[in-house]
Structures are given as structure tokens and as C-alpha cells.
Amino acid sequence: MRIFKILLLFFPVLILFSCNERRAVSIYEEKGKPAFGDTIITGSIGEPSNLIPILASDSPSHEVASYIYNGLVKYDKNLNIVGSLAESWDISKDNLTITFHLRKGVRWHDGTPFTAHDVMYTYKVIVDPKTPTAYSGDFLLVKEAKVLDDYTFRVTYGRPFASALISWGTAVMPRHLLEGKDISSSPLMRRPIGTGPFKFKEWITGDRVVLTYNSDYFEGRPYIDRYIMRIIPDSATMFLELKQYGIDMMGLTPVQFVRQTDYDKFKKSFNKYQFLSFGYVYLGYNLKHPFFKDKRVRQAISYAIDKREIIEGVLFNQGVEATGPFKPDMWAYNGNVKRYEYNKEKARALLEEAGFTKRKDGILEKKGEPFEFTVLVNQGNTVRIQCAELIQKRLSEIGIKVKIRVIEWASLINEFIDKRNFEAVILGWSIPQDPDIFDIWHSSKQGKKELNFISYENPEVDELLVRARHTLDREIRKRCYFRIQEILAEEQPYTFLFIPYANIAIHKRFKGIEPGPAGLMYNFKDWYVPEAQRRYKTNATLSP
């Protein structure tokens, strides 16, 4: 009787375990034909905060929004600017005016036609001081914006502005739903309406965001029916979900990419893609520091750091050496600059030339002051902490004593970087797709909270930055940026360390994926699953 009771207790548990659907295994090797259908489930560590992209500053928000909205222009696979909501555009001879000719027949997801008034509204709301947006900088340079007719929009700048065209890649907002209302409390933040390939379906807080295809999309309906972003805050859990096919796509860490996914079962169901990420990591020097003022000292340190060793040891080879502030597959990148191969002898010679002598204990000194400095790194970033350790070891070999201090992110920025209270720091910059780096390197940008926190000053770089910023001629810009990269490589205000690869695993049934300089998602609309390999037979196709 007692045993029976216990069994009864476990009965519900048994039911739970028994009704588990087995998953069909099929062969994913065949390319098949493009077909409509299936669902893609991605995982995200963070939850989107706000689906009006001009109000959001986090990447999950921007990712979801990028499928819902369009800008006037966009980047193609090779980072060339092509039309999106604008069919074409004319640039006046004086480079001051851009006239956009908009696509006709585009509709918002609620059926309202899209017109130039929507673009005008978007511009107005971005420059409105009452809008809490972080992206108004580019638009404040517009002198005049004008709607010529329903499908023509003209902007005039006070001075030629290089990023002018691509700044109109900003998501255009629906005027008919927003005008006259406070955008920062609009329901569109949670239920967006755009013109893009996917429509918003639902957002369950802390759990997932669901989008469905837009059959009316002006570039044609996307093949995939549904896009689901699941919010999984723990990366270990996310990796287990991937292995259990709970998600179809996830960014992998170097260890996961190289070691933990290197087995047959995984390789049978997933493709791994790789492209250079839009960011680089560097060792920045406080140029006000008496030792770091001297170019030769910085060069010596660059020679003494073995970048290859960092990439092999810390990144498991999932990165390339950085030579400057751009990545090799961008048009602005100049690979023909001074490089600093690991060379202890050169480093020693340069330091000697700079007036350093060796003490008895092997530490270098100048005028009685030992060469010692502290490198700051942010807490939780293992890659950067390990970099600092390797740098510490290499520099100790040439007689420089390095201390490492790990600090929580907010304190690092507010207490040390903003107050210029540091000697050297390991940080990363995101690389903008448009190569305007004025705010990081121009000598006027040294104020509090401004980005030239290392206090870099070089009149030639200043002039080149301004010139490159105020022309629309790509050849001139290219020449300016090439020269800037040469100067930066020579002067080493940073030791540029590496550009990591973005490593993505995607389920094999998704075809048509082509990684390029622009990344992976630029042609998401064209991804498809052949009918025989379809996994989620949704009724989304029947009832949109």
C-alpha cells in the first residue's frame, strides 16, 4: 500500500518525462531550393530595451529593430552604400545638398503609405532637444531639411559632411503614429511598426521577442516565416540550448569555437561562420605621463609586446593583429604602415636611446626614477586581463615593471579614464562602418567625458581629420585616412593589439548565408530553409 502511494506520487513526473517529442534528424548537406517557411531562433544575453532604435543604446534592441525598420540607405555586403527606402539620390556639385528620391508604393506594417513626410518627422524628432537620443550628433549638422514632394526629400548642410549620406541609414519612424506625441513614452517602443522585412508579433518580457514575415516587403517577402529572439542571460545555458537545438544561432567564444564544438554531432547540424568584428583592442597610454610623452618609449613597448602570442594564447587564433584604428576589409584601411614585430633588441635599443639605463635589479630607470607603470583593465573581461598578463611578462623581460589593476567598468571609466587618472589602459573601440574617427583623435576632443582621453595631439592628424570629414570624395577621404594611419603607426599613441573574429554557429538547414565585411545579417531576408529540411512547420504561412 505504501509503495503504491509512492508510485502515485511519481506518476505525474513519469507523464512529464514520457510525452517528449523526438526530433526528426535529416541530412542538411543538400543545398535545396529556396522555399518559404520555418522559424529561426536566436539567443541573446541581454534583453532589448526599446524598439525605437533612436532611443536605444544596446545591441539587442538595434538588432531586432534592424529587421523591422529601414533607413533611406544601407550598407551592402562590402560596405558600399546602396539604396533602401531611397531609390536614388543626387548630390549637388558643392557637396552641400543631398536630394533623396524615395521608393513609391512602400507601406508601413499597418498599411499606411510611406512618404517623405515620415523622413522629415524622423529628422525633426532626432534633433529635438526633448528627445533622449544618443544619435543626434550627425543630424545637428543639417542646415535645412525640406520635403519637395511626397517622394522627394532634400537636406542641405552648412559644410560638406562626409558621413552625411550614411547617417540617413537611420531607421525612419512612422509619422502618422508619432507626430504630436511624446516619442519617449510611445507604445511603439514595445510594439513597433516599421517598413522592414519582418513585422513585430509579440514581446514577452525577459523571455522572447517574436517577429513574423512581412508579405508586403518592398524588396520581396523574406523566406523565413518567423524570427524569435530568446533572452538567455547566462552564456553557459545558451550554449547548452544550442546543443539541444533550443536555439538555431549563437555567437561563440574562441574556446567554444575552437574546442567545444569540434565534434561530429555538432558539425553535422551546425555551420560555423567567421568574420572580422567591428572592434579592436588596444593598450592606450596617458600621453601626459613623463615617460610616455616620448615616442621612442611607446615604440619600444610595441616592439616588446608579442601580438602573435596574445592572439594565439588568449584568442585561440580567433583574431588578427591590429595595425591601426580600422579593420583590413574596409576601404579606409591602410595595411602598408610601420609594423612592430616582436623584437626585444629593437625595444632595448630604443629605450637606451630615450635615456633609460639598467639598474642592478634589472629594472630600467631614468634620472633615478624606475620604469614602472600600472595597466588598468575592466573586471570580468578575461580576454583583456589575460592580455595584460602577457604584456606584463614581456615587458618585464626588457626591464619594465608592470602592475595590473582590475576595476569594475563604471569606476574605470568615471574615476580613472574621465579624470585622466591612469598611466596605461587596455580598452576596445568599436570600429564605425563609416571611418570618421574625428572624436577619438582630434586634439580638440580632450575635455571631460570626451573621447580623446589619452591627450593625443598632432597638428597634421588634426588637419587630415577635418579634411576627411568635410568632403564627400571618397578618394580624398581615403588619402587622408591612409596618411593618418601612417602617422598613428609611427607614433604609437596606442599599441594596437588585435581585431577579434566574430564566430557564429548557425543551424545547417539555413542556406544562403554569406559572411562579408559587413558581417552576416545584411542579407538575412534571403536566408532560406529547403522544404525537406524544414524543422518548424508553423501555421504562420497560413495565417500571417
Binding site: S49, P132, G137, S185, M189, L240, S430
Partner: protein, 326 residues
């Protein structure tokens, strides 16, 4: 009694005020600024833009004025609008996460009491037997083992290896297409591991409490008297010992009231459960002051209320204490 109650309730006001003042100061002293400004390393965000956003949130005003503004709102039970970029009312953010957290906490607390108390009783009655030691080892293992580690092991075993339980989340992605029965099953399946983990860790406390308090009671003279009267053992235990031994448990029950709305960050992150722990953690990381303050105020209020509740229940259960109230 009523006067006593009113007095206690009245004294909660200065206490709450003090708590909010200290919390407000502490969170504003932490370096860093609200999430929307946390785009530090983006070259497109200029200083002018930053200043504009600071003014928008009222962060450019002196601290005491900010506190006063917050206080004026909170007395009207207006928790304000979140500083994170979603700009939603704090109360909405809390409301949508509260049911999940309270639900999980109630179930696991129920399990903890239902399993923990019998374990405690057994261990007290059969002290120093092998089974007593076994139970002790088991509950302490649950207490000591790191949640995330046990959780990951379970996920790997039941999720990836056996493939019978979902790894994380609360509902399957196609939840809407299920029948009502299917929905319930889906939810239950998703909850098995999280609830097991959270209950497993809490067994130690309650079972040890129960054991010690029962041992204490069993040493009393009236228990010896009861045995001497020739009462059978289960009557002695149930009618005489247990009633008294359960008193401290009431206190614990009262003290766990604020715990109902608090979720564990680690546990919720691992299982991707959108509960209060995550909300609090994220709002701290994003320096979302109104949300942090909102959760703290609720927590403080419930703690004070829980204490009061424990005292009242205690007084109701134990006449010896009621006399002292006066």
C-alpha cells in the same frame, strides 16, 4: 492589541524613510550613470548629447533635490519612470515579473516546509542514526553546492544527454499552439529543474531549525512527565512536543515574507527566468535609479511587515508572549 498594532505601524514610517534615504544615497554614490549613457565607447556619442540626456533625466540637479522629487512621488505611490531606455513605468516592470517570482517562491517554499519539517522531526527523534546522518549530509550538500553548478549539471544530464526536459525559459517557443493541457505540461516541465534547485538549497535551514527546536523540547520535564503518564510515543510527539517545537518555525515563516518577492540572480539567469532577481540586477548594472528604489522600497516594506506578522502570529500561538504585550 489594536493600539499596539497601530503603534507598530506608525513607527514603520520613520524606519522606511530612513531606509530609502540611505539606499538613495548609496546608489547615487556608486560610480556610473544610467544605461542610456552607458554607450561610453561609441565614438558617435558626443559630449553635448550626453549633457542633453543628463538634463532629460534630471541628473543635473543636486542630490537632495533629486531625493525630494522622488519622495514627493513615492508618497503618492508613484514609482516613477524607469531610466533604462525603455522608459516604462517602474510599477509595470515590477508587476509583470512579480507573479513568476512569487509563484516559484511559493511552490518551493511549500516544498521546503513539507519536506524540511519531517526531515527535522525524523532527525530529532532518531538522532545519531545512520539515516539522520544521511539526511544531514543531503541537506547540507544542497545548501553548500553552488546553485549554478548543480543547475548546469542537471541541464546537461536531463536536457542535453537524456533530452527529456527543456533547458531554460518558462514556455516553449510554440506555446500558443498547444492545448490547455499541453500548456500546463509545458510550463510544468520548464519548472521542474528551477524549483528543484531552489528547494534543494533551502532544505538545510528549515530542517536544522526543526531538529534543534524539537530536541530542545524533548529535553523538557513535561515531556518526561508525558512519557511517565504512559502516553504512547506518537501522542507525546504530536500533542506535546511538536506544538511547542513549531513555534520558532512561525518566526521563520514571517521572516520569509520579503523573500517571496526577491529572486536569486544566479538562479534566474541560469534558467532564463524573467523574475525579480534579474530585474534588480539589471537595474543596478544600468544604474536605473527609479527601478532600484522601487524594488528596495517594496522589499523594505515587506520586511517590516513580515516582522510585524511574525510577532503577531507568535503572540496568537503562544499565550506566554501575549501577556507581555500589555
Amino acid at each position: 492589541m489594536l493600539r499596539y498594532l497601530l503603534k507598530r505601524l506608525f513607527f514603520m514610517i520613520p524606519m522606511l524613510l530612513g531606509i530609502t534615504l540611505v539606499s538613495f544615497l548609496v546608489i547615487h554614490l556608486t560610480p556610473g550613470e544610467p544605461g542610456v549613457l552607458d554607450v561610453e565607447m561609441n565614438p558617435k556619442v558626443t559630449k553635448e548629447v550626453r549633457e542633453r540626456i543628463r538634463a532629460f533625466y534630471g541628473l543635473d540637479k543636486p542630490l537632495h533635490i533629486q531625493y525630494w522629487m522622488w519622495l514627493k512621488r513615492i508618497v503618492k505611490l508613484d514609482f516613477g519612470v524607469s531610466f533604462s531606455t525603455d522608459r516604462r513605468p517602474v510599477i509595470d516592470k515590477i508587476k509583470e515579473r512579480l507573479p513568476i517570482t512569487i509563484g516559484i517562491n511559493l511552490i518551493s517554499m511549500f516544498l521546503i516546509f513539507v519536506i524540511g519539517i519531517p526531515i527535522g522531526i525524523y532527525c530529532a527523534r532518531y538522532k545519531d542514526t545512520i539515516l539522520d546522518k544521511g539526511f544531514t549530509a543531503f541537506v547540507f550538500a544542497g545548501y553548500a553546492a553552488p546553485t549554478f553548478w548543480v543547475a548546469l549539471l542537471l541541464m546537461m544530464f536531463f536536457g542535453v544527454y537524456l533530452d527529456i526536459l527543456p533547458i531554460s525559459g518558462l514556455k516553449s517557443f510554440n506555446y500558443d499552439e498547444f492545448t490547455p493541457f499541453g500548456k500546463a505540461m509545458d510550463l510544468a516541465k520548464h519548472l521542474i529543474m528551477p524549483i528543484f534547485i531552489s528547494a534543494f538549497g533551502g532544505l538545510a535551514g528549515i530542517s536544522r531549525y526543526m531538529k534543534n527546536s524539537l530536541l530542545e523540547v524533548l529535553r523538557q520535564e513535561y515531556i518526561t512527565t508525558a512519557y511517565a503518564k504512559g502516553l504512547p510515543e506518537h501522542v507525546v510527539l504530536k500533542r506535546h512536543a511538536l506544538r511547542n517545537a513549531l513555534l520558532p518555525v512561525i518566526t521563520i515563516l514571517g521572516l520569509s515574507v520579503p523573500g517571496l518577492i526577491g529572486g536569486s540572480v544566479i538562479f534566474e539567469s541560469i534558467f532564463s527566468i524573467p523574475g525579480m532577481g534579474q530585474l534588480f540586477y539589471m537595474s543596478v548594472m544600468a544604474r536605473d535609479y527609479p527601478t532600484i528604489m522601487g524594488i528596495l522600497v517594496m522589499g523594505a516594506f515587506l520586511t517590516l511587515l513580515g516582522n510585524l506578522l511574525a510577532d503577531i502570529m507568535y503572540a496568537l500561538a503562544d499565550p506566554r508572549i501575549r501577556i507581555g504585550v500589555g
